[in-house]
């Protein structure tokens, strides 16, 4: 494309939104500022790209402090009630969420779905204990919804470490969805890990795994306990598998790409290399 050709505003919005949505954990503000300067059109940014801010925060399972509660909640697609508002089932409130400031305000009472509340609460109790036991600064939330004859429960955990002064950030996200109906059900999990290291470079780890389990549902508490047992098992298995991969990558894959030293166990003799070439030249002319 010639330097004076311009793409359409729609294309610019698509590109700017893509960049925003791929910001590494903890670096939304920096990516936002970069995109703002490059787009150089604040109106277009406000009108066309603002949607991407909300999508990003929901996808990241962003933790949010509630002014009147010690236990934070999460901003996700599962508790989005439209109009920029989300609900927190734990404190039975809804709140307005500012996607740029990452702040909750305008708290109002919110009524949960009574038909599934006993199931949701049972899972919330077990799940919160599990999260506290494996995620030092983790935030979790459990949502419940009734659908025809089935109960749908979603349990999310988020934990992160942001250390921009040391040029790194990382985030773990777990999302578990259970569909229960008539004594049985299915438990589906999506586990995601992302790490960004950027001192004199740009190194990123991007991992994801999907898990599926069949479950039997008896009482609220027993079912919750079984789900959490499976969740703990799956997540620990996943973390072990990641560690095993690291071992193989460093022992096998990396070593096979470049040796520490040549097979002679000493560095290259560069004088010899160039004299070999000169020798070849001499032989050629004879």
């Amino acid at each position: 494309m010639a330097p004076d050709e311009q793409i359409s505003d729609q294309e610019k919005v698509r590109i700017a939104s893509d960049f925003i949505r791929h910001a590494p954990p903890g670096e939304f503000n920096e990516v936002f500022t970069d995109v703002r300067v490059l787009l150089n059109n604040d109106n277009l940014l406000k009108e066309g790209v603002a949607g991407a801010f909300a999508l990003y925060n929901k996808d990241q399972l962003t933790p949010v402090k509630l002014p009147n509660s010690t236990i934070p909640s999460l901003v996700t697609e599962h508790n989005d009630i439209g109009g920029g508002r989300f609900f927190d089932p734990r404190s039975k409130q809804s709140f307005k969420y500012d996607h740029l400031r990452k702040e909750a305000s305008d708290l109002q009472a919110w009524e949960s779905d009574v038909s599934v509340e006993s199931w949701r609460e049972a899972l919330e109790t077990q799940f919160t204990e599990y999260a506290a036991n494996h995620y030092k600064h983790g935030v979790c939330a459990v949502f419940g919804q009734s659908r025809n004859d089935s109960i749908s429960l979603v349990a999310c955990i988020e934990d992160h470490q942001f250390q921009p002064k040391n040029y790194w950030n990382g985030r773990w996200r777990s999302q578990w969805c259970a569909t229960l109906s008539g004594g049985s059900g299915e438990l589906q999990g999506t586990l995601r890990v992302q790490v960004h290291y950027y001192e004199d470079g740009n190194v990123q780890l991007v991992c994801s795994k999907n898990v599926k389990h069949s479950i039997t549902s008896t009482s609220e508490v027993e079912t919750a306990k079984e789900m959490v047992r499976l969740i703990e098992e799956s997540e620990s298995e996943y973390q072990l598998a990641i560690n095993e991969n690291y071992q193989t990558m460093s022992d096998t894959t990396f070593k096979a790409l470049r040796r520490q030293l040549p097979i002679t166990r000493s560095k290259v003799d560069w004088e010899k290399i160039i004299s070999y070439k000169i020798g070849k030249e001499i032989n050629k002319t004879q």
Partner: protein
């Protein structure tokens, strides 16, 4: 405005997942076309391989051997697709370039035991500059795909005496590792590190430059290899394990409380036995 935009663009490229460098760069150029040339010359991309059919050898593509949409092969010194008057090194420099390619070809074989390398040189006012490229793809063993890309850009300032020169090296090494397995799902660990080094060297004949450049590149790559090992398989792994603990934290708290109690008890006993 354009300089600030270039800085922002480079900052963005350091933050977006490197696994999508090509798409990110292409989108960035679409968004800010005025930065096209600057971006192409300052953003490192994974190296692409082309085949020199005349010489029957592979060579690597980068911005330094590109002229328009054509690329120059270091083996045949011609452009593909052919160009009427594509940029070529001077005869003197071409002789050095041929030697450099042969020398780094051997270097590549000794350290990488495979892969492809290419060296491109161009003239400067008081010396010359060059880029040494190496690409090594893994064989996919243990179900893990790996790839190493080296991009070494070197500036050689020849001193007026002609008996020494100053070498400035800026190196980027890209390392890509990915696997898809039932236990761990998809795992993608990739990106690059950049370092700079400079030193003086004695020059007795043109080939001395190759010896000096070779030593500098070798030392640099060995250093970066060590750092890659530490960052990729040490640091990022530690960060993951800091996000979630396989061992229940309650157990760890108990262990910590126990060892603290023990330490306190020992201190008390020592306090009692002091005169």
């Amino acid at each position: 405005m354009t300089e600030e935009q270039l800085n922002r663009a480079l900052d963005l490229m350091r933050r977006l997942p490197p696994q999508q460098i090509e798409k990110n760069l292409s989108d960035l150029i679409d968004l800010v076309p005025e930065l096209c040339e600057d971006l192409l010359s300052s953003v490192d991309q994974p190296l692409k391989i082309a085949r020199d059919k005349k010489e029957g050898k592979d060579y690597l593509l980068c911005d330094y051997n590109r002229d328009g949409d054509s690329y120059r092969s270091p083996w045949s010194n011609t452009y593909e697709p052919p160009l009427e008057d594509g940029t070529l090194p001077t005869d003197r420099l071409r002789r050095l370039e041929v030697e450099a390619n042969a020398a780094f070809d051997q270097y590549r074989q000794m350290y990488f035991e495979g892969g492809v390398s290419s060296v491109y040189l161009w003239d400067l006012d008081h010396g010359f500059a060059g880029v040494i490229l190496i690409k090594r793809a893994g064989d996919g063993a243990r179900n893990i795909k790996g790839c190493w890309d080296s991009i070494h850009v070197i500036e050689v300032q020849e001193k007026s005496t002609g008996r020494s020169a100053h070498y400035k090296l800026t190196s980027t090494v890209m390392l890509w590792l990915q696997t898809s397995r039932p236990g761990s799902g998809t795992m993608n660990l990739g990106g690059s590190l950049t370092r700079q080094m400079e030193q003086d060297g004695t020059v007795t004949e043109p080939s001395s430059h190759i010896v000096n450049m070779g030593r500098l590149v070798e030392d640099m790559e060995n250093k970066i290899r060590h750092t890659l090992n530490e960052i990729y398989f040490g640091k990022t792994k530690d960060i993951v394990n800091g996000l979630r603990s396989i061992q229940p934290l309650a157990d760890q708290k108990q262990k910590q409380a126990f060892s603290e109690d023990l330490a306190n008890a020992l201190q008390k006993r020592q306090g009692k036995s002091d005169p």
